[in-house]
Amino acid sequence: MLADARLIAGKDLRIERRARVATNQVAPFALLVLVLFAFALDPDRGILDRATAGLYWVAVLLSTVLAVQRAYALESTDGLPDALRLSGLDPAAVFLGKTAALALQLLVLEAVLLAGVALLYTTELAGPALLAATCLAATLGLASAGSLYGVLAAGLRVRETLLPLLLLPVVAPVLIGATRAFEAALAGTPGEGWPWCGLLAIFAAIYVAFGMLAFGPLMEEL
């Protein structure tokens, strides 16, 4: 199963490397969101500094919606859904592969955004261990929930408008947990952030497990 998952993840990442949608469109969009927050929140009054953690994760969430849409737009053309169903790959492995490819892209995006907040919001990146662990756990949760809702909305004509409505409330716990953990890390009190990191890990575990079970029936709808 892991070999199948690696196959799917490799395929998605190879397509991304050649098409460069993530690097040329999604990453610039995420940075743009950071800049827009700075315009809206008047950088001189110190609001940005206090709100950095929340703004960072809102930017990640919005970019996740784009990345998920992109990940399933790949599968929807040229009879690819049929090819995927006929390939004989284990649906759970397809889910893991899509999730892994998505998670890897999101992790790169988060690194770019971290550099973005460090430069644009002059945030000092304290507590690197907690920051890294939070990014890992949150990303796994976002990628697995994203893969699941992505395939749920994939075959529908209204998927562009439906996906954010379905996905964003579901990942609200990730936004809350990751923001609290980041706040604790940036404030230099990482001890308060680790329980939130645990919540993120539980979220990720639940969605990975549920996704592996539910992806089989949903692949019929791709």
Partner: protein
């Protein structure tokens, strides 16, 4: 609601049992209103605002019941694949959204005289608001035109996810 009659399922959910339950519910609602609005005295501290609680609490109980039925219907559809379970899940989500809205509305009206504000970012309020959004999303997914079985399959997974996500949201806002 309209429903398909594939797979030998009944064309409607009406039965003698459901009519009796319906009549009992209607009678109970009338009795509740008489007791809540006429027969009971105003609260010593909350005044007349306490009467909202007689609507608010049952609405919240019905809301949780509907979420439970949504989960049950969705899970059972995935096991049995019979249209009846899908109809149950859909009806539970629709009724559940009404009761969620009613819970929020009566809670806000009660909060204004009691707490001084319509809304506080308290765990229960936030979770309830998120539940309303989740149910709206579920119903939006159901409204997308698709073949009956295809829609049922998507809806069943989405319905289960609503139920799974609720404790996570509650825990994260506490």
């Amino acid at each position: 609601m309209n429903q398909t009659t594939t797979g030998g399922s009944p064309a409607h959910t009406g039965s003698r049992g459901s009519r009796i339950v319906g009549l009992l519910a209607a009678g109970g609602a009338v009795a509740l209103l008489v007791f809540a609005l006429v027969l009971s005295p105003a609260d010593r501290i909350q005044g007349e605002a306490v009467r909202l609680m007689y609507l608010h609490v049952p609405a919240a109980i019905c809301m949780y019941l509907c979420v439970g039925l949504l989960g049950l219907g969705s899970a059972m559809w995935l096991v049995k694949k019979t249209p009846g379970w899908d109809v149950l899940a859909a009806a539970a989500a629709e009724v559940g959204l009404v009761f969620t809205a009613l819970t929020l509305l009566t809670g806000m009206l009660w909060g204004r005289p009691t707490w001084g504000v319509y809304w506080v970012w308290d765990a229960r309020l936030t979770t309830t608001a998120m539940l309303a959004v989740l149910l709206a999303g579920y119903l939006a997914l159901r409204r997308v035109p698709a073949a009956a079985e295809s829609r049922s399959r998507r809806a069943a997974v989405a319905g289960l996810l609503v139920v799974i996500d609720l404790p996570l949201i509650h825990y994260s806002v506490t």
